[in-house]
Symmetry: C2
Amino acid sequence: MTTTRRQAFASGRALRPSTKVLPEHARGHNRSLVLQTLYRAGHQSRADIARTTGLTRVTVSDLVADLIAEGYLIETGQREGSRPGKPAILLDMDRTAFQIVGIDLSAHDAFRGAVLDLDGTILRRAELAIDGRRGADAAALALDLTGTLLSQTTAPVLGIGVGSPGVVDLAGTVLRAPNLGWESEPLHDAFSARFGLPVVVANDANAAALAEHGFGGAEGDLMLVRIGHGVGAGLLIGGVLLFGGAFSAGEIGHVVVGTDGGDLCACGKAGCLETWLATPRLEAQLSSADPSGRIDILTEAGKRLGIALAPVVGALGLSEIVLSGPAELIGGTFVDSAFETIRRRTSLELHGDLTLRMTALGDDIVMRGAAVMVLSAGLGVS
Amino acid sequence: MTTTRRQAFASGRALRPSTKVLPEHARGHNRSLVLQTLYRAGHQSRADIARTTGLTRVTVSDLVADLIAEGYLIETGQREGSRPGKPAILLDMDRTAFQIVGIDLSAHDAFRGAVLDLDGTILRRAELAIDGRRGADAAALALDLTGTLLSQTTAPVLGIGVGSPGVVDLAGTVLRAPNLGWESEPLHDAFSARFGLPVVVANDANAAALAEHGFGGAEGDLMLVRIGHGVGAGLLIGGVLLFGGAFSAGEIGHVVVGTDGGDLCACGKAGCLETWLATPRLEAQLSSADPSGRIDILTEAGKRLGIALAPVVGALGLSEIVLSGPAELIGGTFVDSAFETIRRRTSLELHGDLTLRMTALGDDIVMRGAAVMVLSAGLGVS
DNA sequence: CCGAGTTTGTTCGTACGCTTTACTAACAAA
DNA sequence: TTTGTTAGTAAAGCGTACGAACAAACTCGG
């Protein structure tokens, strides 16, 4: 009743209206805040958490009590060292209390998956060859792989994360994945119905981007480019995935690069990014080239990626681009060439801080990204 | 104490942790929700608002009481028509109760400004020639223009919105605006100190993008490209501005377009987007061309814009691009050529719904965008 | 005309979340 | 032992939203 206009002005800036917010939502948010603090920093006292979150010690104690009761947190003993005052009781996430199943459906020859702990450490792996399966058969294979992994878990499962090729909507339905013959394949519902666990499904490049954010040390804005049989990207803006209209964000494989022609692509256009970068074509070119020819080929391919990305870098003010794909192809000359091309085609002064690098997460990036999705959806942690 | 894991899972998805959230923040959010509902739909009863927001009638009544007391809402009489039940008391925003000052510093010859009502209708205009002023002189001129407009307001002023060229940070400091000789010019602080009113400062293209979102009917994801003496863009993703690293998002003027050379740019590179599109160059080319030559020139310029935007469209899954600039140059052939180029250089099937059009807001777009910023910051409305 | 049914908006009591204040516990330093 | 500091808890209070119940005001059918 006594809200002043000034207060309203200040608070209006913070939140933009979409749906109603109740106090219990605030509670859930603050709960995640506590978890997040411990997830990242580890081994903090209630008072420490209160200081870093801005919540009072009382509130933190209350939230921590809940989280301990639910098994997410444990007290790990008193803080070492001699300081005045009552010694602090350290808390940490119980990183072994729950496990996550991460599934990667993006390889062209096999479905791969893993059991991970809450830190994203891979505890077990499994793999099933696709052998040309498509449609419902492919979906069944993915479910089987997941069942196998679930039977190998040794702790309650927080959820199942799936990184799928193609276009995936927010409900976890694969709208279109030509290689697997999927159209409107309701992966989320199939997994959920079969296993009765929380399930998160996303595009493989998006999952990879989340992995790089969660485990690879990337912050804020990030573009992750996956180069394999196709070329796709995932964009993270302010830590949030970008989906775009019709969930088609990141579909850069069939963007025409340059104004000097190029090979004809399966899509009908000439000079698509995939005609320059897709690994089967790169390998074919490289197999019939001498060492210096190899460098030329990789330099040219990297240059083409740079030409395609330069406008995106400029438009988004991107400062971090990460590549995922076969390191032997794109790890050296290719990356350097792409970086140099972007640098030469954009305003230098605007982003002296642009970085372009290979991911350090290797081939596990999608599975680990799938784990990040589960952590994020389940605990609000990443 | 009795929060179940299931509830936590659901709530974790909705909000991602950044800072603590208190019940009063939720209140502010719901408050904006009520305002937003009335701002858009107008003439609704408390019960109507309750239905559309999901809040209860009780809560809505409480919020409305606050907002009436503060002068934002008024009761406009009973609903017409005969229906069973107690007649509804209609509410509306008091769109004349407050005014907004919007300032556009982006034109190369003059600073322009206006007094607007809460609907974004322009009530008064003012303009001051720049006459080559730079640095502190230019800032003083902007303040004078604002002072003049403030003296012409006929209602309490909700705030001052400023659209400035160059790179603007979140604190409203113009980090770099070469044309005005500004480097780290603290516009927000200067306006705030002089007038003691809420002030919002943003890049002109960003302001324009917000105008298109607020008044031009654009939804969700939007890229607004401003073409004038320079070329810049503003990106709205999910209704939120994209800033990028070093606040450099949208700086596409000096991205090299194509792989076939181009004119040398003032920045030192060859073939920058501005060398193809900047209006002085376009006008110079057009002045010495016959009618069919004019079409060729505009077609080529549009094509270059399309070449630059195609990768951005693909990467972001953009579905709406709006152009702002001199309609006589870029309104016809140019737009068509740009659209056709993008369509030909991206995956057709992914965005049959791509639209590329001129803004309908004309030269007032930045001032009206500045008003949107004030509305958004002040009331959470847009 | 009157009662039944409907819709609106308010009042009252309740549940929840976080804060402030005040307390106890446990330590170091003088 | 005294003083001061820090950690964690308990109690009380305030703000926010909700459900239940109600009065007001209308339509409609008999």
